[in-house]
Symmetry: C2
Subunit: 528 residues, 2 copies
């Protein structure tokens, strides 16, 4: 058996079902082996950033790793930004980077580069498989490392001759159930919970900030019990990997992105209990503004996610999370379209168990409030700040659960980084409805330009670098050119009609939602 | 003066006129400074790989560096593949990567990553500017390092607070003329030329293989004189950075990409003189095939490009390169379109002093032969093998010389890596005509799958990963959606008409040239 066959056999026996691929010559034996070894589905992407983002989205929903197949250093480079996001999401991904044959590297041919150095920046586990006889074991180790705990990006560099040579064997995996159990219930440190319980019961202002797996059940209910019993405020991190929300799910407030609003949320806190979240800091530094958002007088208590149950038993024994009053859903709005009306229409039309992939950035400012009472859904966010994650992540999520609806909310600027994902939406006939917030502007940067405190209004050259026109992007044409049916909406009524129709029909759709850029007044208010 | 203002002042005084930008928050002071300091043109791209590829194309034609502005590690990652190509092209590029404020990095916020490690893989020079007072000097050092010799990618990492703080000063540059003189005429080693001259005059079969700057005048004429006087065969490297060709320019044969054809070219050589080229090796390794293409009995002589003049004086004193017989140009072809007919039409319609950016891959197999007699032009190739360079490189070339016509020849698969470059073509109203070889197939990989010697025909899953349909990409729609006028050609007559019209009209155009994939028989022949 050659290395490629053994690698794929090992992936399959390790529970890896999907490989998002953008292969090249050094990966041709892997590609050939897909037919020799059943059980691994190859999904073609037209750009590596789509493959890596899809693996991120897949892992968030499937709760297990997909494989990604990349071609040499440049392929890894193209996929790096979304691997960065996956690293920040803390999800499992098995990355296979093909390399030149071991004996060929000395020639320093055009595609030769330092794969290890680049891979090391995003990989919690990194290995170069130098011998065919060990490739099965290496693949098994990669899967184990990816699953964790902690879940992470695990990268295996696979030289072409290791792949094509004979003498390999697939390797077995530890029992999946055991691995899952380890993931779900690491041993908690009892002392930390007791300290947190004392803090919560001290009568002083306390905030419970949850992140990681804690933005999902059953941890959300445990957190809600703690809130009920102690009066602590319950927040979640600004960019959750996967957040269960909507009617019937305990409502949690997201820590705001804007540091002045986040500081306002936290200013009275005397105790900050972190469960799966990190101590809040400003996303960027700004002149003369603090980076650390924890108030000076506030004590910080760090817990594992799994400690939430024990903490709930300490402060709220024998309780359950009480049903919360259902947040009213907005009605379908009329008139000229804007970001707020898109949010209202989405809330009204969102089907149950939808997956929302949110890369709406500035234009989606009101989305979370508007959808608090929508039917139960999962909300995925941009964990690593590297834009271009939405369309790819939607791809992976839809492949993970074909029977659920995926709603991909994309800012126009962000969409263009990985726009070819639309082709994979069409090729795989995925149930993804993409909404483009087409305001022809990098509004987030117009805001950030104000926030960094350069005196005076931006000049014409600066403004030009923040505007996506001329020419105006026609996302209907672009999507159609990649095989995705698309329509344009200029009024709220048109948008509701488009969204309603897209969510009824199978397969991918795109709505080019044409809205105005954020007004200078609003930007100035947000930046102040 | 703040760091950003000093940086831009230094760039301008160092002769940098253009900055290809895809900025983020950490670069907002740089963006703001574009208005404060005149002389630097900001060109917005919608994806970092377009910015870096544009800087490569710009440098190849302008013969000086552009700046590239990237946002943190993920932005650098997105631009990495085309920086890899620029590194292999040996062109000067000044890369500015914005980073978090120095004091903010400890918070490990979502966008934090190891920029230095990634940048190190493509940068001949790398520095982190940690103090505002030094940012001018650092920028000057970056420009000098980029210009060289050797020309290279020089990367300056610029923390946000270094950019926004006061206390900076622009730094002066060494005299540009002096730098250029150094680049053009490094001191040559006389002995190497003498040895090469003896080899050429030995009467044994000799090959002069030129690369780097030697694929341009005046070196081409020196090489032609050597050929005339000694009977040596004159070849150029497979992927020249910039190759002057066409009527009136000494004709050179390109060393073939396929290693069996390259080996055939070299098999009788007893002396191989390398001028600016590296010893020929197979692009990839293949099972049971040699990587080193130099015959066992062949002596290799390495020369600097600048030694070609001295060598010509030794073996062909007092001669000039004689005019060569003009290769006949093919006529405009009729009938169903294919790659060969596209090549014929291009040869017939190519305007004088055009710049051809060639990423046509498999479908452009006959281009070089067909265009040998076309009016004098520059030919840019994919130096580093990282596909997705063509549309960006065309962007940079067109900005470097607005009065020349750029013809961008793009394989469909390669085009999709950096397709958003079309938007910049439209935004800057660049004189670029893009031809998409739309064969709905990764033909180069169909060929490579055969070449790697996996037994038997590829199975259905492998084939699926090498086909770009379904759905078929409609490049007319995609280009139109980004503001580039586009037409489809299915017959050779239609193609000639589209190309003729596009080359007459100002501004960008795209031709979606629909052709058949390479036949299995041809692929099998090429792979044999």
């Amino acid at each position: 058996m050659n290395g490629a066959d053994a690698l794929i056999s090992t992936l399959v026996s390790g529970g890896v079902e999907v490989c998002f691929a953008n292969p090249g010559t050094s990966e041709m034996h892997f590609v050939g082996a897909l037919d020799a070894v059943p059980g691994l589905r190859g999904v073609l992407t037209l750009f590596e950033g789509v493959a890596t983002g899809a693996a991120d989205g897949y892992a968030r929903i499937a709760e297990k790793p997909a494989a990604v197949l990349l071609h040499l250093g440049p392929g890894l480079g193209n996929g790096l930004a979304n691997l960065h996001n996956a690293r920040r999401a803390g999800v499992p991904v098995v990355v296979i980077v093909g390399d030149h044959a071991t004996y060929h590297k000395k020639y320093d041919t055009p595609l030769e580069s330092d794969i290890d150095a680049v891979a090391g920046t995003v990989s919690g586990w990194l290995r170069r498989s130098d011998r065919t006889v060990e490739v099965g074991l290496d693949a098994a180790a990669a899967i184990r490392a990816a699953i964790g705990p902690p879940s992470q990006v695990a990268t295996l560099i696979l030289p072409a001759n290791v792949s094509w040579s004979d003498g390999a064997q697939p390797a077995g995996m530890p029992d999946a159930a055991q691995t899952a159990a380890q993931t779900a219930e690491p041993t908690a440190e009892p002392t930390a919970e007791a300290v947190a319980a004392t803090a919560l019961q001290s009568g002083r202002d306390a905030v419970l900030l949850i992140g990681g797996a804690a933005t999902r059940e059953p941890w959300l209910s445990a957190a809600a019990r703690i809130r009920q019993a102690t009066g602590a405020r319950l927040l979640c991190e600004t960019f959750p990997t996967r957040w269960e929300r909507g009617a019937g799910v305990p409502q949690v407030t997201r820590l705001p992105y804007l540091e002045k609003l986040a500081a306002e949320e936290l200013k009275d806190a005397k105790h900050l209990i972190l469960a799966g979240a990190r101590a809040p800091v400003s996303f960027f530094a700004y002149p003369k503004k603090p980076g650390d958002l924890v108030p000076a007088e506030c004590a910080v208590h760090q817990l594992e996610v799994s400690a939430l149950h024990a903490l709930a038993e300490l402060v709220a024994p024998d309780t359950i999370a009480e049903p919360e009053s259902v947040t009213p859903r907005p009605k379908l709005p009329p008139g000229p379209l804007n970001g707020a009306k898109i949010a209202e229409a989405i809330s009204e039309l969102l089907p149950e168990h939808a997956i929302v992939v949110d890369e709406s950035n500035t234009a989606g400012f009101t989305l979370l409030d508007a959808t608090a009472g929508a039917p139960r859904h999962d909300w995925l966010t941009l964990t690593g700040g590297a834009i271009g994650y939405g369309l790819p992540a939607a791809t992976g999520a839809a492949i993970a659960v074909p029977n659920r609806r995926v709603l991909c909310l994309e800012a126009d600027g962000s969409a263009m980084y990985t726009i070819s994902a639309l082709w994979t939406h069409a090729r795989e006939n995925l149930n993804i409805t993409t909404v483009i917030y087409n305001n022809r502007s990098y509004d987030i940067l117009r805001l950030e330009l104000l926030r960094v405190g350069r005196s005076g209004p931006p000049g014409p050259k600066a403004q030009e670098l923040l505007q996506l026109k001329p020419p105006e992007l026609d996302f209907v044409a672009i999507a159609t050119g990649m095989g995705v049916p698309a329509r344009r909406a200029i009024t709220a009524e048109e948008f509701s009609e488009c969204l309603s129709a897209a969510l009824r029909e199978p397969g991918p759709h795109l709505i080019d939602a044409v809205i105005e850029p954020t007004s200078p007044e609003t930007l100035a208010f947000l930046a102040s």
